[in-house]
């Protein structure tokens, strides 16, 4: 019987697993001792294969809801694309990708948009995920690699600070490193909820939503006052300290306490633990990043890390926890509106020339717009008339979701490639059934920047095509003269050349090397280069080799509670569901564990409104309302509501205000009220 060593399809931890073709067509999942998950799997990983032969699986293209043959579907799509581009120009067609696509698919999608369609409108759902951390990482370090060190460093850290990261639910096997770390070290968690992760912490800071930036400034203030600033490091390895120190001078502990509700004493304790540690690591997650000031918040925590001399020090550093399976690789190879493969900038003439030569096109479009802005323009007079979606479900995942559905309905053509009829696919003119993870080869780049191999166990079922085959088929019909491979290995070879010499350099990565050395860390500029598990030990990839302090100041959330909307609403994930739930809501055992959306509220709020645990209540924001089951818990702040975002309706409430730098929406805080149903 066939068996392959591959990785889990879900989050960026990319747990190693084995897949075995068992009798009767069943596919069995087994654990595998890989350096990231050390043999662990959560309920999502164990049950991932249940989707392969799920009755809901799409097995034929749909045109206006009716099954059609592949050539009919593809001819229709390309015919409409030609008409719309002829009538409205090349930018009439837009492309929307996803952070779950393999490197090969992400690369091919960007190439398809720029070289085949010639549109500037391409962006992806990673904008909702990693964009703030990426922007802050680049402006400080000159590079964006989620963790610039291997995961194993987390377990060895004397002090580990997790900011807005609930790894116990979002990437459970990572908990093995927390267990190792808490046996000898101090774990500090900043989260408005006492999450499963916070429960395991030595010190839990439970701030008002939207105040992480002030907390970072306050921690830096204390680090200065208590003498923990690494002066030789700051002098030798950084620029810009003086302005950052002045900004921190205005955030004395009592001021931060009053704003955030975190006792000053706890702020001091956190700084002492970080400052006294030989090995200290600061990590941010979406809780800190999904704000209209997410980039500045990450910068503030990077400033703290730099002041303490952490980045580049053995066993220490700053990192972010990438969310989606290929959230890292997906943001490196050309799905982003302003980027070309290898993390090249689209406005860099040398980068453009390199890709024009490789792709055999005389020109490339310029920068497009970010995901939310792209969605806002769909079907408008000047905006795109057609949208092609690969590996994303923006009707559920984008903020202010009712507006998203309205924009999609205004399109002349919506094409969705997916393996289920997601909420977005339900609105599509054409749905293209695509292969699942166990049916395709390729590479993924995990949260450590480690390039991994996804291996196919079996062929896609009849009637189903791989995303690469779909893109190649569309390209051929659209008359693209260059080479457009459907074979992942050939695409990877092209990606190596495309990224050669770029910040995210994959030139020296081969599938054989990935197999031989449990993955290869980028940058890896040549086949004789060992790869780069740890960055920054000698210098930073900035023009002067130094890391940059970026002066930032706190600002309040775009929406603060007030009359009519007296509470904060924040969102997040639960263990047994993933992203927009298209996959996990269809797995019976996961649906049994987490069957329905809910809202967490504090007993004080419940008492005030006479709400009992389990009662359906209406949660209302300025943008929408949702009826959710009340979950009365004392693990949440009395001024805060929490709802997981895996179900349709939750993002009807969230705020689509954007970060000015990263264009990240403010998912993590808005004003809301809870109403008892009468």
């Amino acid at each position: 019987m066939a068996q392959v060593a591959t990785h889990c399809p879900y989050c960026a931890l990319q747990c190693g697993m084995t897949l075995r073709q068992a009798a009767g067509g069943r596919v069995d999942v087994g654990t595998r001792d890989f350096p990231t998950n050390r043999g662990g799997l959560c309920q999502k990983g164990w049950t991932a294969a249940e989707l392969l032969d799920h009755p809901d699986r799409l097995r034929t293209p749909l045109l206006h809801g009716e099954p059609v043959a592949w050539p009919v579907a593809l001819d229709f799509v390309t015919g409409r694309i030609r008409e719309l581009q002829a009538a409205h120009g090349r930018d009439a067609v837009a492309v929307f990708g996803g952070g779950g696509l393999t490197n090969e698919k992400a690369y091919a999608l960007g190439k398809f948009a720029r070289a085949v369609l010639g549109t500037r409108y391409v962006d992806y759902n990673g904008r909702f995920c990693m964009s703030s951390a990426a922007a802050a990482g680049i402006r400080a370090f000159g590079i964006d690699r989620g963790l610039p060190f291997p995961l194993a460093d987390l377990g060895r850290a004397d002090t580990l600070l997790l900011v807005g990261a609930n790894v116990a639910e979002t990437m459970p096997p990572l908990g093995r490193y927390l267990t190792e770390q808490t046996e000898h070290g101090t774990l500090i968690v900043i989260d408005p909820r006492r999450t499963e992760t916070a429960r395991r912490a030595t010190l839990h800071l439970q701030p008002t939503p939207g105040t992480d930036l002030a907390i970072a400034l306050g921690l830096l203030h204390i680090a200065v006052a208590e003498g923990y600033v690494d002066r030789p490091y700051v002098a030798a390895r950084t620029t810009g300290w003086d302005e950052v120190a002045k900004a921190a001078a205005a955030w004395w502990p009592a001021r931060v306490e009053r704003l955030s509700g975190v006792p000053a004493e706890d702020l001091y304790a956190a700084v002492h633990a970080l400052g006294r540690a030989e090995r200290a690591i600061i990590v941010t997650g979406r809780g800190a990043e999904q704000h209209a000031k997410g980039t500045d918040t990450v910068s503030a925590f990077i400033n703290l890390a730099l002041a303490l001399g952490l980045p580049g020090r053995p066993g220490s550093g700053y990192g972010c926890l990438t969310g989606q399976g290929n959230g890292q690789g997906g943001r490196e190879h050309g799905q982003k509106a302003d980027q070309l493969p290898g993390y090249r900038r689209i406005d860099d003439p040398a980068a453009r020339a390199h890709l024009m030569a490789l792709w055999g096109v005389p020109d490339l479009p310029g920068a497009g717009v970010s995901a939310v802005e792209l969605i806002d323009r769909l079907g408008t007079a000047d905006g795109p008339k057609a949208l092609l979606v690969f590996g994303a479900n923006p009707v559920v995942s984008a903020p202010r979701a009712s507006r998203v559905a309205r924009r999609l309905r205004a399109l002349d053509l919506l094409v969705v490639a997916d393996f289920f009829r997601s909420e977005t696919a339900a609105l599509a003119d054409v749905v293209l059934p695509t292969a699942q993870w166990a049916e395709e080869d390729g590479t993924m780049t995990n949260l450590e920047g480690r390039v991994l191999r996804r291996r196919a166990l079996r062929e896609p079922p009849p009637g189903v095509a791989t995303d690469l085959a779909v893109l190649a088929g569309l390209s051929a019909r659209l008359g693209y003269g260059g080479r457009f491979d459907a074979e992942p290995r050939a695409v990877f070879e092209e990606l190596r050349r495309a990224s050669a010499g770029a910040p995210a350099d994959y030139a020296g990565v081969t599938w054989e090397r990935i197999d031989a050395q449990d993955g290869v860390f980028w940058p890896c500029p040549g086949e004789d280069h060992p790869g780069s598990p740890r960055l920054f030990s000698d210098s930073f990839p900035t023009p002067d080799g130094r890391a940059r302090f970026v002066p930032v100041d706190h600002r309040p959330p775009v929406e603060e509670p007030g009359p009519g909307f007296p509470l904060y609403l924040t969102t997040g994930r639960v263990l047994a569901q993933y992203q927009s739930g298209t996959q996990t809501r269809r797995v019976a055992s996961l649906a049994a564990t987490a069957p329905a959306p809910f809202v967490e509220l504090h007993p004080d709020v419940a008492a005030l409104l006479s709400i009992v645990d389990g009662e359906p209540v209406r949660v209302v924001s300025r943008r929408g309302a949702a009826v959710l089951a009340a979950r009365v818990v004392d693990t949440i702040r009395p001024d805060t509501l929490f709802a997981p975002f895996h179900w349709p309706g939750i993002n009807a409430l969230t705020n689509d205000a954007l970060d000015p730098t990263s264009r990240m929406p403010e998912f993590k805080v808005c004003a809301a009220r809870v109403e008892k149903l009468t």
Binding site: L41, C42, G175, E196, V224, W252, R255, D634
Partner: protein
């Protein structure tokens, strides 16, 4: 349009920054009497304690065009009719909007021997220069006297004690910080200060301060003499209103302003310690910064009204943790108190109309952040007052240690959603060892943190089957 700001302290510098943030091309001139760049006055006790160096208390200033600074310059007169003012360096500057942020100055009490110019070993504690003056002497001193047991006096005392000086605080009133604390809180604080090397003398009126080359001596009304190498006078501050008074603006204790921070001359505003709004003069940073925000709105054309932030006095430094909110010395209302003097803990909450009217928290109290936010927001106080007074425990409900006591529905393995019931079912289904139970249920295969619990449960089941 242009704005002229007189005073470049916490309020004036903040106003310049607020204006610059709204319109970076708006011409703003700030005139500061002190020769220094803007610094954070509330960090001066950190400088005194040797925790912070002078550059570290410097405040960020608006960068680039727009803001012109004239430091080390005093304003000598305002000509309201001509809308100009005169400076100590002989200049005449026209203004369109004038903002007075002249702050306050230290009060010298009518005590024999305390008059300007102060002797070398005696200093007030107000400005960076005062701080330098104290430090110049403190470096050669073993002991210090602090006259005044208010917030500023205690900050100075703590800072000097942290430098290793033996400190005596002399306070004329019967308890410390009488505007913020009640006698019980003061008693606890006296004990805390003793642990830091600070001796407090209460109800002790100083009648005379004398200096010679050997030190400073304070003579008390009860006949005692306290000697030290250095004395710091911290007997309160008074709004700096001379300029406004001379210009004919309405001045009571401070310069009288309305909800838009306008003085009796609508072209002139006043903010910070020098201003008197609704009968209240300042002294805290939060109101001064809120006033700066409102003035910046008003002069740039945004409707805005000043609503005073709830008064919060907070002293958080090595060894001292003190918060006093609102009507902290009142007693009329629903009163909750807790005192544990031997641990330096005291908590008092005053609730009126189900809202927090005042509070005192001494010692490390985990509820302090929650209490301050409740007070600031005026939100209803929860039914369970105990948690507010003492702090929520923060710990999870204790997990049932014994597998026997754990409810069947309890989730043992979060990562794979395995309940005790599922583990029991695996056992009944024939799994007879931990690895077999794990294989049947997938418990422990995620983060692995439930391994002990699962092994404990299997052991318990084995023992039950095997009656020894």
């Amino acid at each position: 349009m242009s704005v002229l700001v007189v005073g470049y302290g916490m309020a004036g510098a903040r106003l310049a920054a607020e204006l610059h943030a709204r319109d970076r091309y708006l011409p703003v001139t700030a005139i500061g009497a002190e020769p220094h760049r803007a610094y954070n006055r509330i960090l001066l006790s950190g400088v005194l304690a040797g925790k912070l160096a002078e550059p570290e208390v410097t405040l960020a200033e608006p960068a680039g065009r727009g803001v012109a600074l004239r430091l080390g310059v005093t304003v000598t007169a305002i000509d309201r009719a001509a809308r100009t003012l005169s400076t100590s360096d002989g200049d005449r500057i026209p203004y369109e909007h004038l903002v007075l942020a002249t702050g306050s100055h230290a009060v010298l009490p009518p005590i024999d021997g305390l008059a300007e110019p102060l002797p070398d070993r005696v200093a007030v504690f107000r400005t960076l220069d005062d701080c330098r003056r104290i430090l110049a002497t403190a470096d050669k001193s073993a002991s210090a006297l602090v006259l005044g047991g208010g917030l500023l006096g205690l900050e100075a005392a703590r800072g000097l004690a942290l430098r290793g000086l033996r400190v005596d605080v002399v306070h004329a009133v019967g308890h410390l910080m009488e505007r913020q604390l009640d006698p019980a809180a003061s008693a606890v604080l006296v004990g805390t200060l003793a642990g830091l090397g600070v001796t407090v003398h209460l109800g002790a009126a100083t009648t005379r301060v004398s200096c010679d080359s050997g030190g400073v001596t304070a003579a008390l009304a009860d006949g005692r003499q306290l000697a030290a190498d250095l004395a710091v006078v911290a007997c309160g501050t008074r709004p700096e209103t001379a300029l406004a008074r001379t210009a004919g603006l309405t001045v009571e204790r401070g310069i009288v302003v309305d909800d838009r921070l306008r003085t009796s001359d609508p072209a002139i505003f006043a903010i910070g310690d020098c201003a008197q709004h609704a009968g209240v003069v300042g002294g805290l940073v939060a109101p001064a910064w809120e006033q700066a925000r409102v003035v910046a709105d008003v002069v740039t054309g945004t409707a805005s009204r000043y609503r005073p932030p709830a008064p919060v006095t907070r002293l958080k430094a090595t060894g001292i943790d003190l918060a006093a909110l609102g009507a902290s010395t009142d007693h009329d209302g629903e009163l909750l108190t807790f005192a544990d003097p031997s641990r330096g803990t005291y908590a008092k909450l005053l609730v009126r109309d189900n809202r927090l009217a005042g509070a005192i928290m001494l010692g490390d109290n985990p509820a302090v952040g929650t209490v301050i936010q409740l007070f600031d927001r005026g939100t209803p106080v929860p039914e369970d007052r105990r948690a507010l007074l003492l702090g929520r425990t923060g710990a999870a409900a204790p997990a049932a240690d014994s597998p026997a006591l754990m409810p069947d529905a309890a989730t043992v393995c979060q990562c794979n959603a395995v309940t005790k019931r599922a583990l029991l079912a695996a056992w009944r289904g024939g799994a007879r060892s931990a690895p077999e139970v794990v294989a049947a249920t997938r418990a422990t295969t995620g983060c692995g943190s439930c391994a002990d619990a699962v092994h404990g449960l299997v052991e318990w089941l084995s023992n039950q089957e095997d009656p020894a």
